[in-house]
Symmetry: C2
Subunit: 223 residues, 2 copies
DNA sequence: CAACTTTTTTTGATTGATCAAAATTTCCAA
DNA sequence: TTGGAAATTTTGATCAATCAAAAAAAGTTG
């Protein structure tokens, strides 16, 4: 029922809320998230409000309604299941699936998504470690892990999530031995130098601060 | 580059041409194929002409250009590969895949389609027996088989294609033992009664004339 | 708190896809 | 060959999504 455009607005709003930890998303955030002009966003926010998918408060932003949030979560679920499906069936790599899923998520039925979920055995995370919402609309695990940037030299960490879908970034990681589930030891985290380096099983990888903010890890306790 | 709408027009035009064996498709045929009004078609035909995807001749219809035909064939290829992919990976049945593929075909990249083609081992036909165009745009095998309606009592035939995607029709066939590749014996083809009946390995199936025109078979010579 | 900056909204326009209904052209049959 | 009937095109309108640029509101800072 909702257009592809509406689906994209809802998803973007939800992602902003998750990332900022707020209930509200501003016109400007949405505009830059979708690469459209602010004026376009304003008019779409009114449309969303009219269809009870969000509550729009002029000059403040929007907040998803239960219904809108449900739809947005469903888009996230579709996107993430599709990504994993492409990786599992066709052996695509984590840098190849985002754009593909971005378009496909608007084209598949709920029934197909549930089939895929079942085929994959109800997975918890997608190829980037992003949690997959359950069929009933529950979105949990969005807070797992901490940015690599917050760790210190000497710590042993497991890679659990990459919060940046840029193919070049993902390929850089792969080429330097960084993959989901791998364990490494932080060599150095220097604010002065603006870098973090981690010894992975095979290779040593060094990332800038910005990049280290996007790579999420869990501290591993020797057991 | 071409919009979803343009892709659908091109595909529809190609299908009309294939079905009628003509180079031209009329405004009316396209309008009913796409369930839009004739006036809408007229204006889109001008658009297609302007983008050199088809040649429009007022009151006569359109004819695809080489470029337009290429694109249309590509849509057919996508559609058919997607159908088979869904059947092979997720065990969907032939009555479940058409609508799904119809939407997905606009959302997948050429690269993904080629991956799927490779994964499936370069198949020749989709789950309905429709031939899959090759990557270079060759569409062959569209003339394989003859309608069951043209066979006579006593002939042994192999089911090779179903030219009707209606889920109810396909389910009716499945429920009566008709599946691609199966062999049966025509019991009766009666113009008077308007029915054709075929003894399949498990069951006896009886179809009306119209239905028998949509089910394609090959005569099997005892060997 | 007044002036400047930033953000947001409004305004006016455009584009693509569609429709209904009127006008036109083509076709067929008497 | 002529008078409908059928098919097609034109016309005028609508709707969703977008933009640029002007106007207004909110925020910030000396």
């Amino acid at each position: 029922m909702p257009s592809l455009t509406v689906e994209n607005y809802l998803k973007t709003i939800l992602q902003i809320c998750v990332q900022t930890g707020s209930e509200w998303a501003s016109t400007g955030q949405i505009a830059s998230g979708l690469s459209v002009s602010p004026g376009t966003v304003t008019s779409m926010l009114k449309t969303l409000s009219d269809s009870s998918l969000a509550k729009y408060k002029p000059y403040s932003g929007v907040r998803l309604t239960k219904q809108g949030r449900m739809l947005a979560v469903r888009m996230l679920r579709r996107h993430r299941l599709l990504e994993l499906f492409l990786v599992k069936t066709l052996d695509l790599t984590w840098d190849q699936v985002h754009d593909e899923a971005e378009r496909m998520e608007h084209a598949v039925s709920d029934e197909l998504i549930d089939r895929i979920d079942q085929y994959l055995g109800h997975p918890e995370v997608d190829p980037h470690g992003d949690p997959i919402p359950s069929a009933d609309g529950t979105l949990s695990g969005e807070n797992a892990g901490i940015p690599l940037a917050e760790t210190e030299g000497g710590e042993t960490v497991r890679i659990v999530r990459v919060r940046n879908q840029a193919p070049e970034f993902l390929r850089y990681l792969s080429e330097h031995g960084v993959a989901l589930g791998e364990v490494g030891t932080v060599q150095e985290n220097s604010d002065a130098g603006g870098i973090v380096s981690v010894q992975m099983p095979e290779k040593l990888v060094t990332l800038g601060q910005a990049a280290a903010e996007m790579l999420y890890v869990e501290r591993v306790t020797a057991d």
